[in-house]
């Protein structure tokens, strides 16, 4: 998976247009200074778009490409290439490849001339798509060919690489069109472009068959993605499996279930459930103790002890942890990790104290988030009461304080089976480096995929769905694997 920085040039500067609108420009400064700030190493591919050329139809920023080529970068240049002369101008300026859009969509004979003269390996076909329709001419007119037709034509010319941009996603920072890339049936090596705004987007694109690279523009310029980190994550993409985690809600030593803590009914013995889950392939188990009183906490500790003694996978326990002593007691009872929720919101220092005492790996922040207007609020008391704290900011702060992972539950989706809250997940996973466990809303195998692929979650959790055997952990893992997501 190639992670390719992308610079759009206009008037000698690096700029971004919001959704292709020349009236909506953000300027980032001169290209060499920008490249230095992005830590783009020698030998890296670099994608250059000459925006003025894409509008006027003639190469403009050739001097910049000439200068950048001397930095040992493998440059691919695009923007308004409509003739062999244009293409040659870029190659003569030091570009390794030319990126040809308009011509590829509208005039195959010109593309054929360029391929014959320069060689197919020097040509990348750029295809801009909005709502499934190919767009050309600086995104201002519809092309005359369908996406499928263009891909076939490009392939017939001997071209091996196509850059596909979903314009509706470009620069909007809401994630790329995973469904679009997954739907492509082609032998071309696809480079994805548009909407890549978190490292998890890069990782997820790399898991889609045909996708061999992605270009990143604004997210690098804005510092949302660090190039070195993205490349490191991609390198380990297939080695580090994403986790499927069943959750047992336990009260008074029994597994219970009930939507929003209403109509709670007995649903079994925790040890039996835990053993069944490990046998089904659970990567970890979460126990949430929802006991109402302190007296019942002793029972909870006993449950943790009995479950941990029957498992050979990691065990995370949460619910009612108020002090460092509660934390210690659960670790002693056999928990590998302890989740803190309300107590940490009331006293954030508890996270730092537990991390120092027991290690960052033992601390899990459990954050119940509820959509409130245009943001998410962290909730306390089992999601019933708002803390007034912004959930995303709270997760970011908890990472600084020393939590090893975040268990992020959407209070709105919990118990609905309507899917995880992808927006909430993206909001958190794009600002923290540590793993996020998605929780609340799982109802189908696709939901698990979306939480990881689009939401950037490193683990997916569900309770009643597994408990009621509507899906088995094996079903979920099998589906994830078939979608290119590595599982154990």
């Amino acid at each position: 998976m190639d992670v390719i920085p992308s610079l759009d040039l206009l008037g000698g500067n690096v700029v971004r247009l919001l959704r292709g609108d020349f009236a909506n420009v953000t300027t980032y400064g001169d290209p060499e200074t920008v490249l230095d700030s992005l830590d783009v190493p020698r030998g890296s591919r670099l994608h250059i778009v000459d925006l003025e050329a894409s509008r006027s139809g003639h190469p403009v920023e050739t001097n910049i490409v000439r200068r950048l080529a001397t930095r040992g970068l493998r440059i691919q240049t695009g923007g308004g290439i409509r003739s062999l002369d244009d293409a040659r101008t870029w190659i003569d300026a030091g570009a390794e490849k030319v990126v040809i859009g308009t011509v590829a969509a509208d005039a195959p004979e010109v593309l054929r001339t360029i391929v014959n003269d320069l060689g197919a390996e020097r040509v990348i076909a750029a295809i801009d798509v909005r709502d499934g329709i190919v767009r050309v001419g600086g995104w201002e007119h519809d092309a005359t060919s369908s996406l499928a037709e263009v891909l076939v034509r490009v392939e017939e010319l001997g071209i091996r690489e196509a850059l596909i941009t979903d314009i509706s996603k470009d620069g909007a920072m809401r994630g790329p069109s995973f469904a679009l890339y997954r739907s492509l049936r082609t032998n071309l090596r696809i480079t994805a472009s548009g909407g890549v705004s978190a490292i998890s987007d890069v990782v997820s694109l790399g898991r889609i068959a045909n996708v061999g690279g992605c270009v990143i523009g604004r997210a690098l310029l804005d510092g949302r993605i660090r190039l070195a980190e993205a490349r490191a994550r991609v390198a380990t993409t297939n080695a580090i499996p994403e986790r499927v985690i069943p959750c047992l809600d336990v009260r008074d030593g029994r597994v219970v279930k009930g939507v929003n803590f209403v109509d709670i009914r007995d649903a079994g013995d925790p040890v039996e459930c835990a053993m069944r889950y490990e046998a089904e392939g659970a990567d970890e188990l979460v126990i949430l103790d929802i006991s109402a009183t302190d007296a019942n906490r002793t029972t909870a500790l006993d449950t943790v002890r009995r479950v941990s003694e029957s498992l050979f996978i990691p065990l995370t326990v949460g619910g009612g942890v108020r002090t460092i002593e509660d934390f210690r007691a659960l670790l002693r009872a056999g928990a590998d990790r302890v989740a803190i929720n309300t107590a940490a919101l009331r006293n954030p220092q508890l996270i730092a104290d537990c991390a120092r005492e027991f290690g960052v790996q033992a601390v899990v922040l459990s954050c119940d988030a509820k959509r409130t207007g245009d943001h998410f609020e962290a909730m306390v008391r089992s999601g019933k009461e708002s803390s007034g704290v912004d959930a995303v900011e709270w997760c970011r702060r908890a990472e600084e304080l020393g939590t090893g992972e975040i268990l992020l539950t959407s209070v709105d989706r919990d118990g609905t089976n309507s899917g995880y809250d992808i927006e909430l997940l993206r909001a958190v996973t794009s600002v923290v480096k540590i793993g996020v466990i998605a929780s609340g809303g799982a109802g189908s195998v696709e939901h698990f995929r979306d939480a990881i692929e689009a939401g950037g979650a490193r683990a997916v959790l569900a309770a009643s769905l597994f408990h009621d055997r509507r899906l088995s952990i094996g079903d979920v893992k099998q589906f994830l694997a078939s979608e290119g997501i590595p599982v154990r």
Partner: protein, 196 residues
């Protein structure tokens, strides 16, 4: 043959004892250097700080006891920080000498990916410990690891390759937690128990 598990305050001994028993071992848990020195099969667990763990070994004469046992022909398995203790040196806040049973040094992860590593990771392994699980997925919790150790038998990748297991003659080490690695972990423990 009895498996002697070194009981230390800087390790989660109960879980490993249970995993060893499930894997078929007769387990004796001890921190008595005399017993350790006479052991035939030793397991050295450890979590947390290398410095604290090494200090505990030396203060209690257990470092010498382990050396004696290995010299007498005992096989030894180090787990997690117990694995790191086998090496010459660890660079956890300065440099601390280890047991020197395995050549190499332990370094902190470079920090490109979150540290500590917490979770499952796929290893590429060879050697008798991994018979049947050469392409296994194991559970790791570590901020430090050896890199490219000469006695490496398993390698994993976390923002760059690191040594996931080693073997030199009768001395084995695994950076992961076999007691938390479900069937694959028990398989490795069974291989160690069966190894002669």
């Amino acid at each position: 043959m009895k498996t002697t598990l070194i009981d230390s305050p800087v390790a989660n001994v109960a879980n490993i004892a249970r995993a060893l028993r499930t894997a078929g071992a007769e387990v004796e848990v001890t921190s008595d250097p005399a017993v350790i020195a006479r052991a035939e099969k030793l397991v050295l667990p450890g979590v947390g700080s290398f410095i604290a763990a090494m200090q505990w070994l030396t203060e209690n004469g257990i470092d010498d006891a382990i050396h004696d046992a290995v010299k007498r022909g005992a096989s030894l398995l180090g787990v997690c920080v117990g694995h790191q203790l086998l090496f010459d040196v660890s660079h956890e806040m300065g440099s601390t000498r280890g047991l020197g049973l395995i050549r190499g040094e332990v370094h902190k992860f470079d920090g490109i990916l979150p540290v500590p590593q917490i979770g499952w990771n796929r290893v590429a392994a060879k050697g008798s410990l991994f018979d049947g699980v050469e392409d296994g997925v194991f559970y790791f919790v570590n901020s430090y690891a050896a890199v490219n150790a000469p006695d490496e038998t398993a390698r994993a990748d976390y923002g760059g390759p690191f040594t996931a297991a080693v073997q030199h003659d009768r001395v084995f080490g695994v950076q992961f937690h076999p007691e938390k690695s479900s069937a694959a972990g028990l398989h490795v423990l069974r291989n160690f128990i069966a190894w002669t």
